[in-house]
């Protein structure tokens, strides 16, 4: 009997490799063998495929069926291989056209009755198939919406193995038995958080807009109840919408996690706020067998918010240094390396001391100076080095709240348009350089001509450097923020005012 071939995709992180699924039926005692570094879930495909085939009114012959997943050296996992395995078996036994299945990439988990279940990771699978130059991909109907997000590839959706076999030329009745399609979990509607809800925190709101405009990481320092979390949650709402590629990355990570992805590409930057007890594996990703994305990957192209940052384990915080540097997170296992996108904007929040009252005018702090020092020593120097904006948030006094309620606050829409303008200006200026955001520009470039600032504007910085209050690295960070402030103002370059404000925006904690 003939060997039949079709295609499937093996995912490793977000990157998928095309896998050829070949099935050979040879004379011998009935056995179903799957070879090619398949994990447990794929080995169990035998049970699902056998029953699904029988319940689709086809039969597997009582012979030796060998399924090979090639390249055989690549570790494969997940249940998305079911459909490809079943169809290659049907083709090897002459139920469907071999030539038809050979040009289609298949993905989908089978139920015993032959129904196709919603399968995690369909979006990255379809993207990988397109990147590998395939034209047609067949997926479960329940995943139709997310598969349709990928441009440039034909997506065929089927609700059962029977429908898939008929599409490939099997002579089966279309009508019965009617199988109710399986519907996946629904996506929670995104909550819109309005910046105007933040009352009487004009300085902090301005710092948030600055962070959004320049892509700067942000450290919010303030007593409990001063609105740090509220501010951080409103950052995605004032960031520019995601590009198609970035939005596909974000949705792909969600799809990998088994979350339902809607039929309209979500262009709102993601927001992730892991709890401070999170382990390193929860933050960077990991797991045995299947490597799952962690909070950093889920926050890619968006905001990673670490509330109570000094309460995080130090090793967890230091794990963030590699992704902040490279924009990627790489997870190594004995048999595989997975890579996830991890270009995040980091927002840290902390109380000024363990009791939270230090520096607050209305209450006294109980902490010993050594306790405060220990509290902040959890956040390592190298991590703090990468944070351009360090802002103190104060509790809102009743007078400030009354004042704020009397005049209109800055809305998210207004702030976003300012951010877009400022980013546009920075992009124009940085055209021809490898960078597009102020936060990514190295200090040497900022200090060099032709964009070096006049010495009059730099006076407060130079004085700080002389007095030893500022390190050279701190000097560069202030320069970067000053450029963002100038972009926000619509000016051609920072003046003395921008530099002074930038200096103020990094005095949250002693540097």
């Amino acid at each position: 009997m003939a060997v039949a071939r079709t295609w499937a995709v093996s995912l490793l992180g977000l990157e998928g490799a095309l896998v050829e699924v070949e099935t050979d039926v040879s004379s011998g005692l009935p056995r179903f063998i799957i070879i090619g570094l398949a994990d447990r879930a794929i080995s169990e495909a035998e049970g699902r495929v056998r029953q699904a085939v029988v319940n689709s009114d086809c039969a597997l012959p009582p012979h030796r069926i060998t399924v090979n997943l090639s390249p055989a050296g690549l570790p494969k996992n997940g249940t998305a291989f079911d459909l490809a395995i079943a169809l290659s078996c049907l083709a090897a036994t002459g139920h469907v056209e071999s030539s038809s299945i050979a040009r289609v990439v298949h993905a989908g988990e089978l139920g015993l009755d032959g129904r196709l279940r919603p399968t995690p990771g369909i979006l990255p699978i379809v993207r990988a198939a397109r990147r590998a130059g395939r034209d047609v991909v067949m997926v479960p109907s329940a995943n139709a919406a997310e598969a349709s997000l990928v441009p440039g590839i034909r997506v065929v959706t089927v609700d059962s193995l029977r429908a898939a076999a008929i599409w490939h030329g099997a002579e089966l009745d279309v009508g019965d038995p009617v199988l109710e399609p399986v519907v996946g979990p629904t996506a929670a509607p995104a909550e819109h958080l309005e910046l105007a809800d933040v009352l009487g925190q004009d300085d902090a709101v301005e710092a948030l807009v600055t962070a959004a405009a320049g892509g700067h990481h942000l450290f919010l320092l303030g007593p409990p109840g001063s609105g740090k979390t509220m501010l951080a949650e409103r950052l995605p709402g004032i960031l520019p919408p995601l590009s198609t590629d970035a939005a596909l990355d974000v949705s792909s990570v969600r799809s990998l996690g088994g979350e339902r992805v809607g039929d309209v590409l979500d262009r709102v930057p993601p927001f992730e706020g892991p709890h401070h007890t999170a382990t390193a594996a929860a933050v960077v990703g990991g797991g045995s067998g299947v490597i799952r994305p962690g909070a950093v990957a889920r926050a890619s192209h968006g905001v990673l918010f670490l509330d109570e940052a000094p309460e995080f384990a130090r090793v967890v915080l230091d794990c963030l240094r590699q992704p902040l540097e490279t924009g990627w997170i790489t997870i190594h296992r004995a048999n595989a390396v997975a890579r996830f996108p991890a270009r995040v904007q980091l927002v840290l929040a902390a109380n000024p001391c363990p009791c939270g009252q230090y520096g607050a005018p209305e209450s006294a702090c109980q902490c010993a100076p050594s306790a405060i020092r220990r509290y902040f020593s959890r956040i390592s120097g190298p991590l703090l080095d990468r944070i351009d904006l360090q802002v103190t948030v104060r509790r809102v006094s009743s007078a400030a709240a009354r004042l704020a309620s009397e005049r209109p606050a800055s809305t998210s829409a207004h702030a976003r348009s300012r951010v877009l303008d400022a980013r546009g200006r920075a992009e124009k200026r940085l055209r021809g350089t490898p960078w597009s955001l102020n936060a990514h520009v190295p200090g040497a470039y900022l200090r060099s001509s032709p964009i070096a600032l006049p010495s009059t504007a730099l006076r407060p910085l130079d004085r700080g450097l002389e007095r030893g209050a500022l390190t050279m690295r701190g000097y560069d960070r202030v320069l970067r923020v000053a450029w963002t402030l100038a972009d926000l103002r619509g000016s051609a370059g920072p003046d003395l005012d921008d530099v002074s404000r930038a200096l103020f925006l990094r005095k949250g904690i002693a540097a």
């Binding site: 004379s27 011998g28 005692l29 009935p30 009582p62 012979h63």
Partner: protein
């Protein structure tokens, strides 16, 4: 005789006839030792085949071939060695075959022969 034994006997007869028509010489039938029984011992072209016959009246409870488990094969291998010793033959030219007979009542039987299964 219970009805399953009748069916089994009929299957073995059908299998023996099938093998003879295919050019095999039947050396032994229902050869017993203390550990079990060999249904048919046949020979063709100098190779001895230890044949296990499985008979079903239908495939609703699975194809006859599916009843050959790993344990059954292991037992057949040791029986084959015993038969070779008893018959004074070299065990190098022995193989194990399976014949599946599907014999629905009142319809012609379907016979399939798997050569050299282990």
């Amino acid at each position: 005789m219970a009805s399953k034994d009748v069916l089994g006997r009929r299957g073995e007869d059908l299998a023996a006839g099938f093998l003879e028509r295919a050019g095999y010489e039947i050396l032994d039938r229902n050869w017993r030792s203390t550990t079990g029984e060999i249904d048919i011992v046949a020979q063709s072209g100098g190779v001895v085949a230890i044949v296990e016959v499985k008979t079903r009246s239908g495939v609703s409870s699975g194809h006859p071939f599916e009843a050959i488990t790993y344990q059954k094969l292991r037992r057949l291998r040791s029986l084959a060695a015993e038969w070779c010793t008893a018959a004074g033959r070299s065990s190098r030219v022995v193989r194990i075959d399976v014949v599946g007979v599907v014999a629905p009542p009142g319809a012609p039987a379907v016979i399939e022969h798997l050569i050299g299964v282990s």
